[in-house]
């Protein structure tokens, strides 16, 4: 008898709880923004965390709100995610809603419909480009005349990975020094505090720059030490 009672009670309770929750979910349903879901479908969905969000859905949400840059997704660069997301961000809400309906509320299908109807050829994935030897030499030559950029160059990882979009670290340093790009675009440098150091270097006056250059050798540690000590 004990067993029958136990099973019956738990079964009934479970059923009651489930029904109650199902009704509650229907009554308090929140209409999610389809744009968010479709943007999430563009992303690789591997929840790698490189963007700083715990997962792809978090990034998709913030992109849809316009809080963050859509190029933040690194693994997505290979699959052309930024291009697709850019297309989506420029579309009207009505068009996205229509595709959402047509695709049966399935984000992948809606994305396909939107990409086809946008007329433009399927966005080709853009690989981060590694610079050629000549390019690197050219930009490193330019560095000689620019103390501030050289200082920034010296705190970069110097691996010329191309993730920042510039051809090599030297070109990136020049762009940061002329404030065309922000230092946070350097992803491998994030571990080494490049952003903070670069912002300090950007705030320094010309004379300070000259002093730091004179005192430091070309490695990161000595530059960091001098900057930390004096500023």
């Amino acid at each position: 008898m004990t067993m029958v009672y136990s099973i019956a009670l738990l079964g009934l309770l479970g059923l009651a709880a489930g029904t109650f929750l199902a009704f509650a979910a229907a009554k308090f349903a929140v209409k999610a923004d389809p744009r968010e879901k479709i943007i999430e479908a563009c992303l690789p969905g591997i929840n790698c965390g490189a963007c700083g969000f715990p997962g792809c859905s978090g990034l998709a949400k913030s992109i849809a709100k316009g809080d963050v840059d859509f190029e933040l997704c690194l693994p997505g660069k290979r699959s052309g995610a930024p291009e697709k997301v850019k297309l989506l961000l420029n579309m009207d809400q009505s068009r996205i809603d229509a595709a959402w309906e047509k695709g049966g509320e399935n984000p992948e299908k809606a994305l396909e419909i939107l990409l086809e109807s946008s007329g433009s050829p399927k966005p080709q994935p853009k690989k981060p480009s590694r610079p050629s030897k000549d390019e690197v030499l050219h930009y490193e030559g330019e560095l000689k005349a620019n103390d501030r950029a050289r200082l920034i160059f010296n705190i970069l990882p110097k691996i010329d990975c191309g993730v920042c979009g510039s051809p090599g670290c030297a070109a990136f340093a020049l762009e940061v020094a002329s404030k065309n790009k922000t230092a946070d675009k350097c992803v491998p440098g994030k571990r080494k505090d490049v952003e903070k150091l670069a912002s300090k270097i950007l705030e320094m006056s010309e004379t300070d720059i000259k002093k730091v250059v004179a005192e430091s050798s070309d490695d990161v540690e000595s530059i960091r030490e001098i900057i930390d000590r004096r500023f």
Partner: protein
């Protein structure tokens, strides 16, 4: 007599046997959601609601369990009720106050496994409270949780402003504060005797 007993139960659950600071139940949200005052308040309200409703439902279920002579099913049945209520709150909160929903984050579903709530339901059974006593005990316990959480949150908000040695920043100083707060609540020990 009856009313004074209810009041004593309420007061003792809130201050003397404060769930967080004397019984050390529900420490997870106590440390996790106490960074900001408004999330702490939202969490407190959610916990008070879940505690009260869960206690009332579990009181009836407990009568049923005793009737069927299967008291060993208590824990699993109680957890089922609590989980359902928490899920319900989550659904409602997502609709009514998305900002609070975001702010509470993972700590909202974690109310399910908040030992303070299951502890309360089981304590009610152990003390063999009547329905009225159960209700007062639950509201008192919830209010006690709220008081502890809100006091702690205001202290932490202030601590963020002041300079502190590097090694004491964040959780370390929070834990020291929690200890001091718990000691100060010991002062209520002589307030009522049950």
């Amino acid at each position: 007599m009856e009313i004074s007993r209810l009041f004593v139960i309420f007061l003792s659950a809130m201050l003397v046997n404060n769930f967080v600071l004397s019984r050390f139940l529900g420490i997870c949200p106590f440390l996790g959601v106490s960074r900001k005052l408004d999330t702490a308040t939202g969490m407190s309200l959610a916990v008070i609601f879940v505690m009260t409703v869960a206690s009332v439902i579990t009181w009836f279920l407990n009568q049923l369990l005793l009737l069927m002579d299967i008291p060993f099913m208590r824990t699993i049945v109680f957890i089922l009720v609590i989980a359902t209520l928490v899920q319900f709150i989550e659904t409602v909160l997502k609709k009514v106050s998305p900002s609070l929903y975001e702010a509470l984050g993972i700590y909202l579903p974690l109310i399910t496994t908040n030992c303070a709530i299951l502890g309360l339901a089981i304590l009610n059974v152990q003390q063999e409270y009547t329905l009225m006593e159960t209700i007062f005990h639950s509201i008192g316990a919830g209010a006690g949780f709220a008081i502890a959480l809100i006091i702690f949150a205001t202290i932490r908000e202030r601590m963020d402003v002041y300079e502190m040695p590097e090694s004491f920043k964040g959780l370390a100083s929070a834990l020291v504060t929690a200890g001091l707060l718990s000691m100060s609540f010991m002062g209520f020990q002589g307030l009522v005797r049950l």
